[in-house]
């Protein structure tokens, strides 16, 4: 848990479902280490509240006036210290990975009980991220593809962009169904370290996707200039 006397973590909720927003707000209030910065029901409201620089952003992808992914991007860009968690009903890989590429570093299932919610936020602030076996498998293939492409394009891949062997092993074991604790045991690491690996990998994916986007834009611009 957090250190005693630390500044409480501010949380911003952007969620259009009233029930959930209310329930979540209540859970945050009950937690001593967390404070509710604000709760918005749409994208515009979320943008306004974002200027207050929350520590944690919880955002739903389906918002009435737009896609929550935009908010994730803005938050990551304007406030790099902010941890973004996307709220999803099923935790399916498509939504999760889309959000991670936009800059999210975690995801929450909508039906989580309040205590679990708070715990997840704590873990996130501590540097860890949740992951599922399917998402792990997808990450493996994404990084493998990216690695191949970089090798073909002969660009100097910094070690930051590719997966380290440790990180790859974490993903492989996750895809095989091992829990954090079991992985930690197998790799002689702490549970927390394993979770930070995951968060690091999410950041790398975000960076990779940004790089790819920039490269793509550059290429397009080049083509335009011709």
């Amino acid at each position: 848990m957090s250190e005693p006397g630390a500044k409480p973590c501010s949380v911003l909720i952007v969620e259009d479902d009233d029930n959930f927003r209310a329930a979540f707000a209540a859970a945050i209030e009950r937690a001593s280490e967390l404070t509710l910065l604000g709760a918005a029901a749409d994208l515009r409201g979320g943008r306004d509240l974002l200027r207050r620089q929350p520590d944690v952003l919880l955002v739903d992808l389906q918002l009435p006036d737009g896609n929550g992914t935009e908010l994730i991007r803005e938050a990551t860009r304007d406030n790099p210290d902010c941890d973004v968690m996307v709220v999803t009903v099923f935790g399916d890989e498509r939504h999760v990975l889309q959000s991670i590429e936009a800059g999210a570093t975690g995801y929450l299932l909508k039906d989580l009980p309040a205590e679990e919610l708070v715990r997840e936020i704590h873990v996130l602030r501590a540097g860890g991220s949740p992951i599922s076996p399917v998402i792990a498998r997808q990450l493996l293939s994404r990084f493998a593809v990216a690695g191949h492409l970089r090798a073909e394009a002969a660009t100097a891949a910094s070690s930051d962009d590719a997966l380290s062997p440790q990180e790859e092993r974490v993903l492989t074991l996750t895809a095989k169904g091992y829990s954090y604790d079991e992985i930690a045991g197998l790799m002689q690491l702490s549970r927390h370290t394993v979770q930070t690996y995951v968060k690091r990998m999410y950041r790398k994916l975000h960076v990779n996707s940004k790089l790819d986007a920039v490269a793509e834009a550059r290429r397009r611009r080049l083509i335009h200039e011709e």
Partner: protein, 666 residues
């Protein structure tokens, strides 16, 4: 040359016009016109140019030859030794051309005669100084002829001759006069058999330049052209023979050269070619006479190939006639006028029969090839009649024999028939090719369309199946749970936490369905990992410690979304049983791969073992039995098998076996 398309409408062009459109017709007409123009022009040109004196008067004296055997050798001998002086009273004035018709009554030994001619008119021809004089007899028929000019024997080119052969004679006055003189003297002797008669044409005298043209022309038309035409016939025949060798099934190609050969043999009578000695003459003559009939029969056989109709009469009549003529010509019987007459009649009949038949078929069938053949045969017959009349000295014997040349149109029309067939065949082949190409294009297009339709149908089928599956699933799971809960809520028999539990179950179930649609990629480990990820917390909440171990399992090719969902339900059922009934403290899930032994289990099996240390159950109990049967049937639907070992108080071990390759259906 267009037919007038009258203002009142289209007129059907006349038949000759349609005929002319055919390429073959044009070629034939062109050739014929060229030939006619050439002949006519040369004759006119020749006669216009030459200042030639034509003598139409002469004096003749007939002297019989005493002979023992009546052979031409005796004639020759008599001619070689002419009398010193001929009695003046013997000479008679005669008009030229002079013809002595055959006298059938004068047969026998005493019929050999020599006809002497002298030409007083020659003396009246002035002979300028320095000019040579030639004397030319266009035709002498009947027998050997000798000439003496100025008292000296003039050389004669042809040493051989035959009774019926005709030839021209050129006599050159010896020497070139230094001063102008008056004409020259010529004495001509012709030996003949009175039975056969003879004929002599007018005498033409003039300078070599003047006469040379006519002499060359006559020689060309009379002697060289038949040889040339024979050569053409035989060469073309050789070509078609080679065609026949390449395609034996086309007998038409063989008939053409054979007909050509037959006609070439017939034409030999017009040339100076003959058997080496007179003993062979009879056979030679027989072959010549028979050849024309064989030729006609071959032409008939040729024509048959271009017509669908066959005349039964002609089919047997022709061979009979041909064989008759051939047999009758064989020099094994004594010569007889009667036989000769029969033979000539049979020959004529053959020619007439074939020509008439072909003409009839040409107009009845309307076939262009037959029309051309029949036209050329009629022309040929006309030429034959002309030749016969000329030979019989009815017509001016100074003309030309046309029969040897008349084979060319016949041959040409037969070739034309074959060429038409070739062109038609090539056209048909090209059309066929084009048709085939078009058909192929059509069919491949059809095939493409079919493929597209098939793929579309398959896609739709897959989507349909997927939708049905999902709907079925939801109907069974979510649908019934929600509706029963609704009923209970309306009846007020459920507490809020019970409702929450049901709703949570529904969300879990929905999650499982979504999970089954996630990209598992045929990976059993990933699937079970996902199940554990979902249900792990529930086990933990029940205070159960889960021990998880997997080793590499190969892809299960049959593991698609529907099967994934089924598998998830099976495992969920097993784990739910453990949580609800087993009161276990430890659960171990083990996933491994077992290599298969033998063909039936090629690829091996994936083995999932879920064991717990709970209470176990009695397999004989009814409820357990029903549950077990459920699990068993579900596993078998996937093509696998399940084995459950349990004893009360000793825990439970569930072993699920799934094939790696396509599942065995039971």
């Amino acid at each position: 040359m267009r037919s007038e398309a009258g203002s009142a409408g289209e007129r059907i062009p006349p038949r000759w016009f349609t005929l002319m459109r055919c390429w073959g017709a044009r070629v034939m007409v062109l050739l014929g016109a060229t030939l006619a123009a050439f002949v006519l022009g040369s004759v006119l040109f020749g006669t216009a140019l030459s200042p030639v004196t034509t003598l139409q008067q002469a004096e003749r004296c007939l002297l019989p030859v005493p002979s023992a055997k009546g052979t031409t050798d005796e004639l020759l001998e008599a001619l070689a030794n002419p009398p010193e002086v001929i009695d003046e009273s013997c000479w008679r004035a005669v008009a030229l051309p002079d013809v002595s018709p055959p006298d059938p009554g004068a047969s026998g030994i005493a019929s050999l005669t020599i006809a002497w001619y002298r030409f007083p008119g020659l003396a009246a021809i002035p002979r300028p100084a320095g000019e040579r004089l030639w004397m030319f007899l266009p035709r002498i028929v009947g027998g050997p002829a000798f000439a003496w000019v100025e008292g000296q024997a003039a050389p004669d080119e042809s040493q051989r001759y035959y009774i019926t052969s005709s030839r021209s004679m050129t006599v050159r006055a010896p020497g070139v006069p230094q001063v102008a003189t008056q004409g020259t003297t010529l004495l001509l002797a012709i030996g003949y058999d009175r039975e056969y008669g003879y004929s002599i044409s007018r005498l033409k005298a003039g300078t070599p330049e003047a006469l040379g043209y006519e002499i060359s022309l006559r020689r060309f038309l009379r002697e060289e052209l038949p040889v040339v035409s024979n050569f053409v016939l035989l060469s073309l025949g050789a070509l078609f023979f080679m065609f026949w060798l390449a395609r034996r099934q086309e007998a038409t190609h063989l008939l053409l050269p054979l007909a050509g050969i037959a006609w070439a043999i017939f034409n030999l009578r017009y040339s100076n070619v003959g058997p080496p000695d007179s003993n062979w003459y009879a056979w030679y003559d027989a072959a010549l006479r028979a050849a024309i009939n064989w030729g006609m029969w071959l032409i008939y056989l040729f024509v048959l190939r271009f017509d669908s109709y066959r005349s039964r009469t002609l089919e047997w009549l022709l061979p009979v006639l041909v064989l008759l003529v051939t047999a009758a010509q064989l020099p094994i019987y004594p010569a007889s006028d009667y036989l000769d007459g029969v033979v000539r009649l049979a020959s004529a009949l053959t020619g007439v029969a074939v020509t008439a038949y072909i003409t009839w078929r040409a107009w009845a069938s309307g076939r262009v090839e037959l029309k051309w053949i029949s036209a050329s045969l009629i022309f040929s017959s006309a030429c034959g009649v002309h030749d016969v009349l000329m030979q019989g000295r009815v017509i001016d014997p100074e003309g030309f024999y046309w029969l040897p040349l008349s084979i060319l149109p016949v041959y040409g029309s037969m070739m034309y028939a074959l060429l038409r067939r070739y062109v038609a065949a090539i056209n048909a082949a090209e059309r066929f090719n084009d048709d085939l190409k078009r058909q192929l294009a059509d069919q491949s297009h059809q095939l493409q369309l079919q493929h597209q339709r098939l793929r579309l149908a398959e896609n739709q089928q897959v989507l349909l199946e997927e939708r049905e599956r999902l709907m079925g699933d939801m109907h069974d799971g979510l649908g019934s749970a929600l509706t029963s809960t609704l009923v209970a809520v309306e009846q007020g028999t459920l507490r809020p936490e019970q409702i929450a539990a049901v709703l949570r179950d529904c969300v879990e179930d929905l999650r499982m369905v979504i999970d089954s649609l996630e990209p598992i990629g045929h990976d059993l480990e990933l699937l079970l990992a996902t199940i554990r990820h979902r249900l792990g917390s529930r086990l933990a909440a029940a205070g159960i410690e889960l021990q998880w171990h997997t080793s590499d399992v190969p892809r299960l090719e049959w593991l698609e979304s529907p099967q994934a969902l089924q598998l998830m339900r099976i495992v969920q059922e097993i784990l739910a049983n453990i949580v609800k009934h087993a009161r276990a403290r430890h659960v171990a899930i083990n996933v491994r791969h077992e290599a298969g032994a033998g063909i039936a289990t090629a690829g091996g099996e994936a083995v999932v073992v879920i064991s717990d240390d709970g209470a176990g159950f009695d397999a004989r109990s009814v409820r357990a039995g029903r549950g077990l049967r459920n699990l068993r049937s579900r596993s078998e639907l996937l093509g696998g098998s399940i084995r459950i070992d349990s004893r009360p108080g000793a825990g439970t071990r569930v072993e699920l076996r799934l094939p790696v390759r396509s599942p065995r259906r039971r």
